[in-house]
């Protein structure tokens, strides 16, 4: 019995170690070596009715994606009204982001842009609905 528990403990420790994932809130500096499954979370740059505005934040996002040599999965998560509307809105932002990325680095490979809509919340307190929407609406860049 003790032996089984020991094996289970070693297995769990090993699993947790190899599956460890770093989550960055904001873009990490260039000297940071990103690994598989690492995640960068940023706010969605300013947008207007389903399209991005030309802002410094958008420039940063485009530059980061275009300059990365890694295979990236970009999740656009939108909390805004009903679930199906949030999905439609994140689809609209994804399509604008794809267009802008194509304009910026049309030969960019290994970049998958996924509309998520109103799912995968990080902030669960619904008592302040404005804050609930604001904090959960985000872009996640995942290293694949």
């Amino acid at each position: 019995m003790k032996k089984n528990l020991l094996i289970l403990f070693i297995y769990m420790s090993f699993s947790l170690t190899i599956n460890a994932q770093n989550v960055f809130y904001g873009y990490p500096s260039d000297d940071v070596k990103l690994g598989e499954e690492d995640k960068i979370i940023v706010s969605i740059p300013d947008h207007w009715d389903g399209k991005f505005n030309n802002t410094k934040d958008l420039e940063e996002l485009l530059n980061y994606i275009c300059s990365s040599d890694l295979t990236l999965k970009i999740k656009v998560i939108v909390f805004r009204g009903a679930k199906d509307f949030s999905i439609a809105y994140s689809e609209a932002l994804c399509s604008d982001l794809k267009k802008r990325l194509f304009d910026r680095c049309c030969n960019k490979d290994g970049c998958q842009i996924v509309p998520i809509g109103k799912a995968e919340p990080l902030y669960h307190d619904k008592s302040n609905i404005g804050k609930y929407y604001k904090h959960n609406t985000r872009i996640e860049i995942i290293i694949e």
């Binding site: 599956n19 989550v23 809130y25 904001g26 207007w48 009204g81 009903a82 199906d84």
Partner: protein, 319 residues
């Protein structure tokens, strides 16, 4: 766990995570359960372990043309007419709006002309036979969609064909909502210079998070939606409008939020004009209003007989 200086500060925000660790610019760890004002120039990292989710068994229901999976609330196969709706998931039903739409025959939506000559989009009338039922008591109405494609309406003056690719209306939840629209114009003369131009009026200028619950005096805005979403006020001569290559495809998904504090209804009304060779145009009116936290009204796209003077004046500038 790791701690690094960030390159930027503006785009970072703190979620309410139990394992959140942040560091100050000097690299000293600060453990926080919830940080409200996160503005400094550093970023954080946290280890998150994989979570395994037990999968439930699925049960399917057969509806004659397709199987429906109850657990994930989706069809297992594509809609047989999905080619006609490139902007809609082929796995969806009634364009994901089963409350506002019906789909008795599995066909598409259509254009209707009323007794006064106004042509409008009806999401619930999919064919001539449905029109005969739905408009049985409406004198002077006619079904004017193209015979072979209910999405299309061929303009009587011969300028071309207007195709409604998508008009989706969503439920209003938490006072937030809006429609999504995709329209494309196919000019008869392929060498014609054409492009969409849009204006809207609203008492809520935008629905970005920073002004989610802010109302302003009734505002008028103009947009060039076929480029990079140039938004201005009442100055049609702005150079920015002309920097964008015109496109015949108009897409928009306006969002507005009911103002809980002011208790004011939200009104949003657009006029979208297709400009042809800088000489003439036709205009589609559409919009929505939100009257309370969970209710509102949508105004289906209608080809307007009399667009605003602003649109008529804009024609000559938009080539």
């Amino acid at each position: 766990m790791h701690c690094y200086r960030c390159k930027n500060s503006a785009s970072a925000f703190p979620p309410q995570l139990p394992l959140l660790h942040i560091c100050d610019p000097a690299g000293v760890w600060i453990t926080a359960m919830c940080v409200e004002n996160f503005t400094d120039a550093f970023c954080c990292s946290v280890n998150i372990f994989p979570i395994f989710v037990a999968m439930k068994g699925f049960s399917n229901t057969y509806f004659g043309a397709r199987y429906y999976t109850d657990n994930i609330m989706m069809w297992l196969s594509v809609d047989p007419m999905s080619d006609m709706r490139p902007g809609v998931s082929p796995y969806s039903y009634c364009q994901n709006n089963p409350i506002g739409r019906i789909d008795p025959s599995g066909a598409l939506d259509g254009w209707i002309e009323d007794a006064n000559g106004n042509v409008f989009w009806d999401s619930n009338t999919n064919s001539q036979s449905e029109f005969n039922v739905n408009y049985a008591n409406q004198k002077g109405y006619s079904y004017v969609s193209d015979v072979n494609n209910p999405n299309n309406y061929t303009l009587p003056n011969g300028d071309g064909t207007l195709s409604m690719i998508e008009w989706k209306t969503y439920a209003f939840e938490d006072g937030v909502g809006g429609p999504s629209i995709k329209m494309e114009f196919f000019p008869s003369d392929e060498s014609a210079k054409t492009g969409w131009f849009q204006t809207y009026k609203s008492n809520i200028p935008d629905c970005n998070e920073s002004i989610l619950y802010t109302a302003v005096p009734y505002a008028f805005m103009s947009e060039r939606l076929d480029g990079n979403s140039i938004v201005g006020e009442s100055d049609i001569k702005r150079a920015a409008y002309f920097d964008n290559p015109p496109s015949n495809l108009l897409t928009d998904i306006p969002t507005r939020s009911f103002n809980n504090g002011a208790k004011t209804s939200v009104n949003w009304n657009a006029q979208s004009s297709m400009i042809i060779n800088g000489e003439r145009s036709f205009t589609i009116g559409w919009g929505f209003s939100i009257s309370s936290k969970n209710s509102g009204t949508y105004f289906a796209p209608t080809i307007l007989k009399s667009p605003t003077t602003f649109h008529e004046n804009a024609i000559k500038y938009l080539k």
